[in-house]
Amino acid sequence: MSMRIFEGFKFTKLQTPIHLMDPRAKFIMIMVVFVISLLFTNVLILTIIFLAQLPLIWLGRSMRRWGGSMKGGFLLAGLIFFMNLITGSTFTYSLAMTIRFLALLSSFSTFFMTTSPDDLGLALEQAHVPYSLCFTFTTAVRLVPTMAVDAQTVIDAQRSRGLELDKGNLLKRIRNYIPILIPLIVSAIRRSVELAEALESRAFGLSSKRQPLIVLEMKASDYLVVIVSLLLLSLAGWASLYAQLPSIEIPLQLPRLW
């Protein structure tokens, strides 16, 4: 799994309709995609579900980064395909499972790319999740790019002292990560202590009745999204139980290897 997959989950500040959507409405939309994907094993339907997200991603101006997460998840997708084949599923079914995985990956990727961690934390707070948990979540997300920079600095510093990460047998390569992990952990701890001091100095935890300056308010368009999503969910639910769905079978069979 390459590092590119993380690009598909990184938030960037843009003013697209998807970005401006209330995170709660967006979350419901994503969850509906999630549930619908699980309702079907039909390769055609799953492909449609997968492709149906593309306009959303395009609207959210995140096609390139989404491509990164697809590329990054490619290995895992291939693994899913292969594991299904080995355990006796048909080619079509294995393909369907792989597409389902990619559809799920896309929906979560879209969500995180278009929702700021602050808004997420706010949504959780307004949903009456305890504030300390919300804060933990947003801080963790905020710290990811910071720690990535730290990691790169540590790698640079050790390489400057002769560390060669791409040489040696497997055991040596694993041991080569010790000079990177230890300074990284120490840095993380030091940073946490400094953050904690600053939190104390800003009266964190003093009052249990926080009134956040900015509140999330659902607009008419957000309610529309929720209604449409729930309608689609009901439709999908009915279809999976009662409808005769067109399907295809790909008559491919890989030779058995055992």
Partner: protein, 280 residues
């Protein structure tokens, strides 16, 4: 009554034998601008931590003596309570900013205090205005320069409307011009708003012009305490603090027998004094 009243303060961090502070006695009057300086390990940061309760609440250890801040016993109050009176700006701008927009970061403190939305809004607007960063309100703090980040930190602390501002080496990571700017903002807060300032600094060349008093700590004890002119003498240099170059220059000239009326502590004073001795 002094706004900061420290009597015979001694402190050793848990697990250490050597005290970080030894019998420190110090009074700060409301509205003063005090610079605290000294060699590494002299106890400057520890002293700051005693002012807002980080010592002994966050940093455990043996604490004796009295610390009264705005009439409150800083030894017995939690930091969250003291933070209403004592704002603390730390060295590293990155590790004291929490939100993804400047506006929300400045609102963070007042929100923690449980204030109403209207009150928080009023304070945020005021703090952004005073520090001159209203235009940055929608930006992400991590995108800003170090100097801008420290201004955000300053605004965030101001929004809690403290009577005292403690700043622990706020210019460490800043380039000279940004350092000068941030010190200017702090001086404005002191002069225009009457906020008492305790500034820990090594960069005495930039900071001296704003202060009216310098406290030099050495090995946990108060070694010197007074107006800059009195403090920047031979003993200060022996202790090893970064006396401004112009001050050092005129001390050396005086040693060489040149008649100096007043040892300058800023470049402006030095210019005046130099013209004096060259024109007689």
């Amino acid at each position: 009554m002094p706004i900061i009243d420290i009597k015979d303060l001694s402190f050793s961090y848990a697990g250490t034998t050597r005290p970080s502070l030894s019998s420190v006695t110090l009074e700060v009057k409301k509205g003063e601008f005090v610079i605290v300086t000294g060699p590494s390990g002299c106890g400057k940061t520890t002293l700051c931590r005693c002012l807002n309760g980080l010592v002994p609440n966050f940093y455990a250890g043996e604490l004796t003596g009295e610390v009264l801040v705005c009439g409150l016993n800083a030894r017995r109050q939690p930091t969250s309570v003291l933070s209403r009176h004592v704002g603390f700006v730390f060295q590293n701008p990155e590790n004291q900013l929490f939100s993804l927009t400047v506006e929300r970061d400045v609102a963070f403190g007042p929100e923690n205090l449980g204030l109403s939305r209207d009150e928080t809004r009023r304070r945020v607007e005021w703090a952004l205005g005073v520090t001159g960063i209203g235009g940055l309100r929608d930006r992400a703090p991590y995108e800003l320069s170090g100097g801008q980040q420290q201004r955000v930190a300053l605004a965030s602390v101001l929004a809690m409307e403290p009577e005292i501002m403690v700043l622990d080496e706020p210019t460490s990571f800043l380039d000279p011009r940004s350092s000068q700017e941030i010190l200017g903002v702090v001086a404005k807060l002191n002069k225009d708003l009457g906020i008492t300032v305790v500034l820990v600094e090594h960069r005495l060349d930039l900071a001296t012009r704003h202060c009216n008093r310098i406290v030099v700590l050495d090995k946990g004890m108060v070694a010197l305490d007074g107006p800059p002119r009195d403090v920047y003498g031979r003993q200060a240099r022996l202790i090893g603090i970064g006396v401004p170059k112009v001050t050092l220059l005129f001390h050396l000239l005086k040693q060489d027998g040149v008649e100096i009326e007043k040892i300058p502590v800023t470049v402006e004073e030095a210019e005046a004094e130099l013209r004096e001795i060259l024109t007689h």
